[in-house]
């Protein structure tokens, strides 16, 4: 009896989004990072192609690491006061990109000025050759003041900036268009709102192929399943031909790990959970693998050890390019 052909063939594909610009492209990055381009659901090398490996960014935070959990903090504690050194170290740790989190601009923190934030961006760009993600404060007013200065400061570098939300997207969209950057569209665990936000961005002139979707994030054990199914549903719609959902997906998960008791409780409190030193990075890398299985392509992490674990694991399982027959 012949073996039936069970391969699924989809009419759609995920957009390819490139972040960063080399000197030849008008920037100063040592290389660019491209995500997306898949023609099928994740990890099915026998039926789809996966032209780009998942990409990993490490977070560099302008507000320091005092509120990071112990196991993530220990790697960067001596770097926290020096953004340049911190960003350069990310490269050594194997990150593909740096995610500069502008937390210091948050009004409840330092309320750092737009000019100073733009200077932070410039200093990081000067110290590290990796493509850059620039992450705002999640406070609309602060973002609308700070992010336009940052897009200008990084003009030519083809950064990825976020986040644009359904009720606050115009300023960032206009700034990214003016300075030729890619944009992060954020809709919290809401697939319908995500699609709507993509329409809104398109209507103000953003090319759908310049958008990376951020469905927000919950760590393993902290609402991950909601985000997982959001990513999965969006991916199925995209592959079925819904071009509004064909944007690659990123998750900014490093900052979520500290919310999970299992990832941060010391072994003295929970001896049955094993050594925290091993448990904390595993929790972060396992969260990555979960989202990878849902379809996400870009991961922002905090713990360099977890990044290395996740990369090593993916290396063994990610379908090689042109694996599809």
């Amino acid at each position: 009896m012949p073996i039936p052909d069970v391969k699924e063939r989809f009419s759609g594909a995920i957009n390819e989004v490139t972040i960063g610009a080399t000197p030849a492209q008008g920037g100063s990055r040592i290389r660019t990072v491209t995500i997306g381009g898949e023609t099928g659901l994740p990890m099915l090398g026998f039926e789809a192609s996966y032209p780009h490996s998942p990409a990993f960014a490490l977070e560099v935070n302008t507000s320091g690491v005092d509120d990071w959990h112990r196991e993530a903090r220990k790697h960067v504690a001596d770097l926290a006061s020096n953004l340049e050194k911190w960003a350069a170290r990310c490269e050594e740790w194997g990150a593909d990109l740096v995610c500069l989190d502008l937390a210091a601009a948050h009004p409840d923190r330092e309320g750092r000025s737009p000019e100073k934030c733009a200077d932070d961006v410039k200093r990081v760009l000067g110290a590290c050759g990796l493509p850059l993600i620039i992450w705002g404060t999640d406070v609309d007013e602060a973002d609308n003041n700070v992010l336009p200065k940052c897009t200008q400061a990084a003009a030519g570098e083809n950064c990825l900036l976020g986040t644009a939300k359904a009720d606050n997207y115009r300023t960032l969209a206009a700034s990214c268009l003016a300075d030729s950057h890619k944009i992060i569209a954020e809709a919290p665990s809401d697939i319908n709102l995500s699609k709507q936000l993509h329409i809104l961005l398109r209507d103000v002139g953003v090319n759908l192929k310049d958008i990376v979707m951020h469905p927000t994030c919950g760590a393993l054990g902290f609402g991950m399943i909601y985000i997982y199914s959001t990513v999965e549903r969006g991916r199925i719609a995209a592959l079925g031909g819904d071009t509004l959902m064909s944007t690659p997906v990123m998750v900014n998960l490093g900052k979520e790990i500290g919310r999970v008791k299992e990832a941060i409780a010391p072994e003295e409190d929970m001896p049955q959970w094993g050594k925290l030193q091993a448990r904390a990075p595993l929790w972060e890398s396992a969260t990555v693998l979960g989202y990878l299985a849902a379809g996400a392509e870009l991961f922002v992490m905090r713990n360099p050890e977890a990044l290395q674990q996740a990369k090593a694991a993916i290396e063994t399982m990610w379908p090689k390019p042109q694996a599809a027959s």
């Binding site: 319908n192 709102l193 709507q196 329409i199 398109r202 719609a237 819904d242 071009t243 509004l244």
Partner: protein, 263 residues
């Protein structure tokens, strides 16, 4: 929803005149407008025009191909016209249509396979349009069997269970819905289902309302294509909405704009 725009048909005065005078503009305008309104393919029927049907058909196809590469649904009862049109067309084609009697299927299905066309098969045979569900299903089964026999992929097959005007044949709409319901489980993957929608309201007063409601009811049981008036915005919006309600499209507040931009 695969929408086949019905407006390029010699039954319409404007089209008839354009064909007879070889005036391309009205035809190309209709092609463009239907596609912009949401049509995925264009039905082309020369209707009762003067001159040789085959010449008129080839001119129409050429005229349309100058402005679009959308699939052309060649709508003619004449085998020689059909054969010439499918062979001459550069765009993808849909053969519209064959009846369900075996000799007809044995003639038309190989033509579709040979020309790489999709095919619409009507559940009509030498005895005419069936009155009930069962006869439609029997014909549908014969169509599917013949398609498999001649090597036509079922994804390229459209079964048309033939809708008649509700004012003269009130039991027919329900019979069409019953036939689609039963035939969609006949094979895996199932064939596609199409109807010539406007026929349901022929000579009725509330034409647009009848078309709109019947289309939604048929989509509800599995219809996935229709030859219809894509320029009727309310009709298009109803079809798009029905698909959202069946989760064939992902909802968002501007789902109609999303649908139209996704094509």
């Amino acid at each position: 929803m695969f929408v086949i725009g019905e407006r390029i048909n010699g039954m319409f005065k404007e089209v008839k005149k354009a064909i007879e005078e070889r005036d391309k503009e009205p035809i190309q305008s209709l092609a463009r407008r239907q596609l912009a309104a949401g049509a995925d393919a264009l039905d082309v029927n020369v209707g009762p025009t003067k001159g040789k049907a085959v010449d008129n058909m080839l001119w129409l196809i050429d005229t349309i191909q100058e402005v679009t590469d959308a699939p052309i649904c060649v709508d003619t009862p004449k085998f020689d016209v059909m054969s010439a049109a499918l062979k001459a067309a550069g765009n993808r084609t849909i053969l519209n249509s064959t009846k369900a009697s075996s000799p007809e299927l044995d003639r038309y299905i190989p033509l579709a396979v040979q020309t790489g066309s999709q095919l619409i098969a009507l559940t009509i045979d030498e005895t005419g349009v069936p009155r009930d569900v069962d006869a439609r299903v029997a014909m549908g089964a014969n169509i599917v069997t013949k398609a498999m026999e001649h090597g036509l992929e079922l994804v390229d097959l459209y079964i048309d269970p033939v809708i008649l005007p509700v004012n003269v044949a009130p039991k027919q709409p329900k019979a069409v819905l019953g036939a689609i319901t039963q035939l969609k489980v006949i094979s895996d993957p199932p064939p596609n289902f199409v109807i010539g929608l406007s026929n349901v309201s022929q000579s009725c007063k509330e034409r647009e309302l009848l078309n709109r409601i019947f289309l939604c009811m048929a989509i509800g049981v599995g219809l996935n294509a229709a030859i219809m008036d894509a320029l009727d915005t309310e009709l298009m919006n109803a079809a798009i909405t029905a698909e959202v309600l069946l989760e064939k499209q992902l909802y968002c507040d501007d789902y109609i704009a999303a649908y139209l931009s996704n094509r």
